[in-house]
């Protein structure tokens, strides 16, 4: 036992020299870490192994997580689900959709036109990064990617408004269509701001909530302006 205790103090000594292990009687169950098939399955149920499931299920599970977060944005009831397990798939999806929908406008004909794809991308991502840095510098308790996730998911009402605007613009671009677009964009801008502040404002010290909310307001206002001023080329 004294020898084995000595061995225990040098745990990997036996690996380098096989001849030593022949001298020392091996005691106990040494096969625990590798595990039998039963213990492996037990661990797998705890940690949710994704190795042996179909690819379709993996993708569907992620899509379901993204979808459930969309629902959280639609009903912003101060749930922490959007904050707890963040992902950036949803924001990427929304940002690409918005930028694609903003293409094909009057922008392409002359250089004084609307925002290009890259400009939308830069405004959305750098805008949310700057807002996040601002809230961190002001002493917010929320983490960097949580804040990016919330700001990205809350673009969803504006992306939906953009889709509605494209449909309305198919019908024509007169005064009525402008009023309809104005109402839709204003409503979705308010919705975006309200939803994101419902998630973000709680992480701030009480005297600084307005300082954090104002940049968020400005961010969605600018995106709303881009959506509203989109005019298609004939």
């Amino acid at each position: 036992m004294a020898v084995s205790a000595d061995e225990a103090s040098r745990p990997f000594a036996g690996l380098s020299d096989v001849s030593i292990s022949e001298d020392i009687p091996v005691e106990g169950d040494i096969s625990v870490p590798m595990g039998t098939s039963s213990s492996n399955r037990q661990r797998g149920e705890d940690e949710f192994s994704t190795l042996d499931e179909p690819v379709k299920e993996t993708i569907l599970r992620d899509l379901r997580a993204v979808g459930s977060k969309f629902i959280h944005v639609l009903y912003p009831k101060r749930s922490t689900a959007l904050l707890r397990d963040w992902d950036l798939w949803g924001p990427l999806l929304l940002c690409v959709t918005l930028a694609l929908l903003l293409q094909g406008g009057a922008a392409d004909s002359d250089d004084h036109g609307g925002p290009q794809f890259a400009e939308v991308f830069v405004i959305v991502w750098f805008g949310s990064i700057i807002i996040t840095l601002n809230s961190k510098l002001l002493g917010g308790t929320i983490s960097f990617f949580q804040s990016l996730c919330v700001l990205g998911y809350c673009i969803m009402p504006l992306t939906a408004a953009m889709a509605v605007c494209r449909i309305v613009l198919v019908g024509g671009s007169g005064t009525v269509s402008f009023i309809v677009r104005l109402v839709v964009v204003t409503a979705s801008f308010g919705w975006s701001t309200f939803a994101s502040t419902a998630f973000l404002a709680d992480s701030q010290p009480p005297g600084r909530k307005a300082l954090v909310v104002y940049p968020v307001f400005l961010f969605y206002f600018v995106i709303g302006w881009m959506v509203l001023t989109f005019s298609p080329s004939q």
Partner: protein
Amino acid sequence: MASTNDPFQFQEFEEAGNLLEANRDATTISIEDDDLPDRQRKAAGFTPDDEDPLASDDKTELLSGQKNSAPFWSFEYYQRFFDIETHHVKERIIGSMLPWPGKNFIHVHLRRNPDLYGPFWICTTLVFALAISGNFSNFLVKLGKPNHKYSPQFGKVTIAATAIFSYAWFVPLALWGCLLWRNNKIMNLVSYSFMEIVCVYGYSLAIYIPAVVLWIIPFEWLRWCSIVVALCLSGSVLVMTFWPAVREDHPKVIAAIMSAIVLLNVLLAVGCKAYFFSKPEAALTPEHPAALELTKA
């Protein structure tokens, strides 16, 4: 002077202080009025505070209200410039819009705690306000024209951002360098840090945000009125703030610095108005040749 004296002769230093006062014009000495007693105490060497250097460091740190430990690449260094509450920002914006005679913006509102929140977000708001309201006013001017096609003119955001941010950063940088240079030549009692100058310049732009929104209305007299009001308010805040810093200088230098400050301010305001807001007459003139050609044909 201090090297010739024995450091333990405390009573000598009252005299030395008087000598310093008398010798004020000497170019090599630069002592600010508030750290003079501190130096005397340090030179004396046996004040009770000096028994524990750490404690005295803590005390000076707490008294001055500044942390000088964090290096500039760390997050904490920048957190120092965002250490403000909502009501501070409100007070500072109002203070930058309503100059009061004899009230120095840096001394009354900043109080050795300059922030970057206000300057950054005021500049960003001004950039988008300029681009959006300029676009909107163009839309209003050309509303009735049949052959006009609306375009969002998104590229103007980039131009506005370049103009505003370079004004809000490079002018304070140049002014800071200039004040530093003058401080070496001639001793001024008041000296400002770079962040304080940036902060004053950022807040002095706040008055332009309502002015720019007012420029949407296509009346030239209203635009010029609002420009003059905004220029007077922000210019007087800047002049009153930097007046104590150059007061001791030659009259020529004072005139040069003050006129540069005011001139750059005027240049920014008038340049923005001329570039982003086209006159109604100017919008009409390109139409005339086309109309003439149409009538000829």
